[in-house]
């Protein structure tokens, strides 16, 4: 008994001394001291283990003890040991804390693919699509997430791609999200993907298919719609989820192709001029409303409507408006295991009115161009780690613009007219942090005389580090 008490006292003394030592230590972050801390921790754990062993030996009971009263099994010694162990655990958490709490969560996600196309000039125009015959680096994303202070959390995505051996690095997003503004408000500010619809805000590794839907590519460009700005949203005090979102963003560059975009680029033949932002009305405005409800415990429905209003650079006073609707329905049984099985159906519809021109260089008169399109996709997680998917795309870029547009290149012609695409795929997830996806695309486009264009992709995703959970 004395041996036990003596050992307990030693451990308690160690814990107390160690606690005081770590407080002093917190002021310094030298690597050697952290190593010392780890060693001390290991030593203390070993002492604790030996102590526990001793107590177990002293209190050794037969394996079967039908009449063993609870009090004996959970006596004071046991309780004291538990308290000590809890303290050790807390010290351990603290030792981790010296390294971790002020650092952001960091993850790196790589998305690669091998692609084969039936045509030399294929129809994949998304910057993060498999674009070339052979191997593609679709997207390598460095994601950092952390809290700034009691008011904001920050998310940062720095993205790299390699095209024809040339590496590009871009700051895709860095935005702050308010943690708890009053009156159910939330502020997002910085550089961010516009929360239009469902997929535009998702990063390529979140996509359920290897490439972007056609209509998103046509209306939001190869890189999706994003830009610096501010967004305010309000959660309505309704019994169900209902959120109103309003956003104002800069609408320049290749990340805002339906708006100010880049001088010299073309939209359905109209050459864009250099039109900088001069007034508040030259910003890109987005209202969005989104609701969600659960008809049963196993079904979730999310329904949204969005619009965009902003200037475009086909003239000095021309404007673009985009309207969209999105629907997501998911079934997952309440007795699922590790998230499987499930069925998820996602659909988006987009319509764009583009006041174009006149284009004096190519002598095209002013016109109101109308584009629309949709995609619908069904995913079936039929067994743990396996998901089968099917997506249908349709896009029509021939509304308005009666005058024959001047389309110099095949790539320009590919972005107008009708196009339909059918994409079955199968994804295998070895774990939550990796995936392999096989996808086939069967494409019919006006620009290719409605002849079938085929594409096959084998995609791989690898993720390391701590990546924050995604929204529904």
């Amino acid at each position: 008994m004395h041996t036990r008490l003596y050992a307990c006292a030693c451990i308690a003394l160690c814990v107390v001394m160690f606690g005081g030592w770590t407080q002093g230590f917190a002021k310094e972050t030298a690597g050697s001291e952290i190593e010392d801390l780890k060693k001390q921790m290991a030593l203390m754990e070993e002492q604790l283990r030996l102590l526990r062993q001793k107590v177990e030996q002293l209190e050794a009971k037969p394996a079967v003890a039908p009449e063993a009263p609870v009090e004996k099994q959970n006596g004071k010694t046991e309780q004291r040991l538990k308290d000590l162990e809890l303290q050790v655990g807390q010290q351990r958490a603290a030792s981790r804390g010296l390294l971790a709490p002020f650092n952001p969560k960091i993850s790196v996600n790589g998305l690669f693919s091998a692609a084969m196309f039936s045509e030399k000039d294929n129809l994949n125009f998304g910057d993060h699509d498999p674009q070339v015959q052979g191997f593609n680096v679709q997207n390598v994303e460095l994601h950092l997430q952390g809290t700034v202070d009691p008011y904001f959390q920050v998310d940062t995505n720095i993205v790299t791609t390699i095209k024809k051996g040339a590496t590009t690095i871009e700051l895709e997003e860095m935005y702050g999200t308010s943690l708890a503004l009053p009156a159910n408000l939330q502020l997002v500010a910085g550089q961010y993907f516009t929360r239009f619809g469902r997929q535009n805000r998702q990063h390529p590794h979140q996509w359920d298919f290897a490439d972007q839907p056609v209509i998103l590519n046509r209306i939001f460009g190869p890189d999706g719609l994003r830009g610096p700005g501010a967004q305010l949203s309000w959660l309505a005090p309704t019994p169900f989820y209902l959120e109103f979102i309003g956003s104002a963003q800069q609408a320049e560059g290749e990340i805002a192709t339906s708006f100010l975009s880049k001088p010299g680029e073309t939209v359905r033949g109209y050459t864009l001029i250099d039109r900088p932002v001069r007034k508040v009305g030259d910003l890109l405005y987005m209202p969005r409303v989104v609701t969600s409800f659960n008809p049963t415990d196993e079904v979730t429905v999310a329904l949204g409507g969005s619009a965009l209003f902003g200037p475009n650079a086909s003239g000095t006073n021309t404007r673009t408006s985009v309207y969209g609707g999105d629907l997501y329905v998911k079934w997952k049984p309440v007795n699922h295991s590790q998230g499987f099985p499930f069925v998820a159906w996602q659909t988006e519809y987009l319509h764009r009115n583009y006041e174009a021109g006149p284009d004096d260089v190519n002598r095209i008169p002013a016109s109101l161009l109308k584009d629309f399109g949709w995609y619908t996709q069904l995913l079936y997680g039929f067994t743990y780690r396996w998901v089968a998917g099917f997506r249908v795309d349709y896009a029509n870029g021939s509304g308005g613009g009666k005058a024959v547009p001047f389309l110099a290149t095949l790539a320009q012609r590919d972005l107008v007219g009708e196009r339909s695409r059918f994409s079955p795929n199968m994804t295998f997830y070895p774990s939550e942090f990796s995936k392999f996806r096989l996808q086939y695309n069967l494409d019919f486009a006006d620009s290719r005389g409605r002849e079938a264009v085929h594409g096959v992709f084998l995609q791989m995703e690898l993720n390391i580090g701590e990546h924050g959970a995604h929204s529904f």
Partner: protein, 307 residues
């Protein structure tokens, strides 16, 4: 349009207005067993909503938008912690825009903070070890004594959130602790014949249960956390189970049954479905009933196994 604006303005005012003094505390629990403990302590002074269903896998709950609304209205949130809900809870809390349930607030209750966690990795870890939990095993409610500790923390926080009701919470907590003590004495007596029984579990969901009742977990059907069994692992497991005389295979009702059935057939061990949370079986309606059901099921399984 004006009517619409006025309507939204009024809705906003309603949302921002404080709760009346007589209102019940609105507590959200991530899992139903935590919800059940809060009900025991809060009694009729709290309204409890559990996000996950008792039949679900608590690691893989969908972050449904309807949960955002529920969390937005919460006076308190109780979570298991130790990364149990890391795959779905953080974006819900962020979007709930509720200052009462932010980290460090009395309304944010983390069960793992008061529990001596098992299986805290001591050596170096990485994901080659599977979906390993760096803070320890988070399936911590399956030890009735942990339930007592969690109840203590719940009482403490509810008292901070609603001081006038503190005597009620204290009395309820005392009553709950007494109930746990008396039932545990009975359960341990009933389970005494099982002390030292060797078992295999599917996932590391029953470590706390095993420790409390003296079961010996010799291996898991998953070779590593979250990784499904390979043929070679199953082969080795069969040999180990035969060699060590494993009597029971414990798994949650939502797990695949093919591998456990094969192991049972090969080794004679009996498959026992053990709900890991309240609501995981219809008999496990609350925290105490969960253990009643587990004890009964295990005793029946052992009885059926014996010739």
């Amino acid at each position: 349009m004006r009517v619409l604006i006025k309507t939204f303005f009024l809705m906003g005012l309603l949302a921002a207005s404080p709760l009346p003094a007589y209102a019940k505390l609105n507590v959200v629990a991530t899992t139903p067993d935590l919800g059940s403990i809060v009900r025991e302590i809060g009694g009729d002074r709290v309204e409890v909503t559990s996000l996950a269903k008792g039949t679900e896998d608590p690691h893989f709950v969908d972050a449904k938008p309807s949960f955002i609304r529920i969390l937005n209205q919460a006076d308190a949130l109780i979570e298991g912690g130790a990364d149990l809900e890391v795959g779905w809870l953080p974006p819900l809390i962020l979007n709930a825009r509720n200052s009462k349930i932010q980290l460090g607030q009395p309304g944010r209750i983390v069960a793992a903070e008061v529990i001596r966690l098992l299986e805290i990795p001591t050596g170096p870890i990485d994901r080659s070890l599977g979906d390993v939990h760096p803070f320890g095993n988070p399936h911590l409610t399956l030890d009735p004594l942990n339930g007592k500790l969690i109840a203590g923390r719940v009482k403490e926080r509810l008292c901070m959130l609603s001081t006038p009701d503190c005597p009620v919470f204290t009395a309820n907590a005392k009553q709950f602790e007494e109930k746990i003590d008396s039932r545990l004495a009975l359960w341990q007596k009933q389970m005494a014949p099982l002390r030292g029984t060797k078992v295999v579990t599917y996932h590391k969901s029953y470590s706390y249960l095993a420790e409390r009742f003296g079961l010996q977990v010799v291996n898991t059907i998953e070779p590593k956390p979250g990784i499904p069994p390979s043929a070679s692992h199953v082969r080795d497991l069969v040999a180990q189970m035969k060699a060590e005389g494993v009597a029971l295979i414990l798994l949650e009702p939502n797990r695949e049954r093919k591998t456990p059935a094969f192991l049972s057939q090969e080794t004679g061990a009996r498959v026992v479905l053990i709900p890991s949370m309240v609501g995981g079986a219809k008999e496990a309606g609350d925290y105490l009933a969960l253990f009643e059901h587990i004890v009964k099921t295990m005793l029946e399984a052992m009885k059926e196994r014996q010739p």
